[in-house]
Amino acid sequence: MTEGLGLVGIVLVSHSAALAEGAAELAQQIAGGATVVPAGGVEGGGLGTSTDRIEAAIGDADAGSGVLLIPDLGSAVLSARAVLADLAGEATARLVDAPFVEGAVAAAVAAGGGADLDAVAQAAEEARDAAKF
């Protein structure tokens, strides 16, 4: 395992820049050492998802071991899929169906521990079944 280098990256795709940034900050704090990049909102500051921001975030998160995308709601999935279709072959990136906050935290902890893309995606998916208390 190479600390801080070659880890799986995580991109949080949200309609809200503040939501993506806050969730990324939280996940990064808990995981310590993981790369979690927010891709929220649209140019001009409104709510929505931007394929440009998602594509840039994937580039920032990619350290050579792949990137996991976690969408918040509905059209975040469509925007992320559009970017993945565009990037086909250029980057190893995967979209996962997981709760936004819990999935981000679980994925960041797994990625920070050096897990591969399959294991990071699985950690995010398993977050769906984790009770809050």
Binding site: I30, V105, V109, G112, G113, A130, F133
Partner: protein
């Protein structure tokens, strides 16, 4: 013949008990999950009262809701059980992450 429970044995078991000097919040939960990820051949089980969690799951550890003064039992099974149990106990007994 069943293997003996010595250090280096895949079935080795080590137990520690920690009285939490701080709540088991997000940051120490993350540290425990990271430790578990670094020692995949070992299983780290935590028990606090009626709550149980595998340290591998940061969400499960946080969901234990263990507060200051809670007795947490750590059971590690695997080849590095004693060392991993010591590391887990150190995370749990550290005062540092009190606000995390």
């Amino acid at each position: 013949m069943p293997p003996s429970s010595e250090d280096g044995d895949a079935d080795a078991v080590a137990e520690r008990s920690v009285l939490l000097p701080k709540p088991l919040h997000a940051r120490p939960a993350g540290q425990l999950a990271k430790l578990a990820g670094q020692h995949k051949e070992n299983t780290i089980e935590l028990v606090a009262g009626e709550k149980k969690a595998n340290a591998r799951s940061v969400l499960a550890v946080m969901a234990m809701g263990a507060v200051t003064g809670t007795e947490v039992a750590v059971t590690v099974t695997g080849p590095d059980a004693p060392a991993v149990a010591d590391a887990a106990a150190e995370i749990l007994s550290s005062e540092e992450a009190a606000n995390a």
